[in-house]
Subunit: 344 residues, 2 copies
Amino acid sequence: MRCIGIDWGSSSRRAYALDENGQLLAERHDQAGVLHAALNGARGGTLGQRRDFGAELTGFVGDWLRQGPRTVWLSGMIGSRLGWREAPYLPVPLALDQLGAQALDLDWPAARMVCAEPPRLRLLPGLSQLPQAGLADVMRGEETQLLGAWRHWQASGRAAADEALFILPGTHSKWAHLRGDQGQAQVLNFQTFMTGELFRLLSQQGALGSLIDSTLPLLEHPLAQQGFDEGVDWAQSPEHGLLASLFRVRAEALLAPPAQRPGGTVEEIRLQAAARLSGLLIGSELGQLLRQPALRALPLLAVGEARLCAWYARAAERLGLALQCLDPREAHLAALRALEGLGD
Amino acid sequence: MRCIGIDWGSSSRRAYALDENGQLLAERHDQAGVLHAALNGARGGTLGQRRDFGAELTGFVGDWLRQGPRTVWLSGMIGSRLGWREAPYLPVPLALDQLGAQALDLDWPAARMVCAEPPRLRLLPGLSQLPQAGLADVMRGEETQLLGAWRHWQASGRAAADEALFILPGTHSKWAHLRGDQGQAQVLNFQTFMTGELFRLLSQQGALGSLIDSTLPLLEHPLAQQGFDEGVDWAQSPEHGLLASLFRVRAEALLAPPAQRPGGTVEEIRLQAAARLSGLLIGSELGQLLRQPALRALPLLAVGEARLCAWYARAAERLGLALQCLDPREAHLAALRALEGLGD
């Protein structure tokens, strides 16, 4: 085994093991995110009683250590002040090959309990955008995805340009403008949208929560597609901002109750409302591209969970934009190969 | 005692008792709102075990009944499907003198336990805006405030016009375009903004919740004023929508931690972040006025809690708009006088 990469985020973590040739040997995933307790209970709940992340990591991939990996790479919220240790934010513009060099070495005593020669444990830095370089912004974890996504895209044969906008949908959706610079990807600037977090908050509680079943999957249901498209369209009205359009999801559901719709059921209304909210939020995010002409002209690439990216692609198409989806797993593997100096 | 008016909303209720001349005799307020349990626990929690609103009402104002009021007027979410009984929505455009005539008579057996001749219990309808008349929208409770606010404004001697935009800030902020028609106020159209609900959700949880002390009052602190103004300005950037600006509140707080600011404390950073979030949301709401020229030209009146209205007035001033504040208590009393056919 050459190395292990762990994308340790707020709500979950995912581990990959690579062999000497950079091929995937094994993969693991669980819900032990850095903010797991904090998100599900009182805020800041983990501050008082710090978790033993070293022991948690050994519990997660301890058996892999016996196969002699040289490095374990950590990325994501594990490097925040709520995580294991706070890693620096590197300010953009930044060449992404700096990430590995700027990683912090962490002490990991628990590893010596399971193997004689523990791997080097490297905590990757995040990125920041200081106010003088654009809107203040930060990311943790996505920088590693970007490093790999760029390489994966360049190696795919589908990259007709040496510049692109990478969109990483999720709780905090990130847009990053990347440009090739002597074979290396440089992050010129980035911006964060609270799209996923708002969907979660609004679909689970408050005025919309009672109308939306947030556990209902958005399947390829015609009603979901129709509701999503309506939401995307609602988001494009300059006259009505997001604050008003959000309430429209409620008003439309109240004024068109199931009994008044032939064949309409409560489940269908909930599905429709969830789809409208989703379309409204994603449409609001992507609609900003129409107001940022410099970005709109770039190739657009989405890196994230396939189903979510498919919805993003649907919204983009409705806005006259072409969005290509990349596999986030392939991106992470490509990032690990880059960090290890292996070819693709 | 002539009548009792009860503004029974989602999170609280307020009762007023008027004498034969329409003067205030007594007033009461508590937190037993219609969604009280639902908001503080699992959603829809009240659906299974319906509350006995009749008994709750007797407990609230039973002692007043011995003074022989003829009518008890109920307005607000008590008339929703989660309340006592669902009252209809009257579609706009609507003359507000229709409200009393269209009220539902409720049966109130519990009242006969405390007085021989119980008052008539009248549940006021809400308003709806059907899709053919604008964006679908609904209100419950605000229509009664509007009826009174219009009369209070007209009687104040400060009404230079026979038309105005009334803004009712709160969990779901309402804008209503009213016009005088043969001495009666007519609601032409209205729109709802989820301003207050988003502030509550975002300041208590998620990425911003840990940075904001939502219990911190927004006092006349210079840092709060400065942060609020920044938020209002952030909301006016067409290039950066609300979803991106929300995350900016977090990024600015992370990139300018207390230790790097001379004299800055954690409390100050939290106050600043809360003020920025508030300015961003209120600025986003009021900024829509700049995109609705027909409304922008009207006299602007805010009816709501004094401190909240003061922040709205500050945001309006920053946007070059003049916003006059009206007392919501005076508005409700004027509404009761109108419903009872009493002069001001």
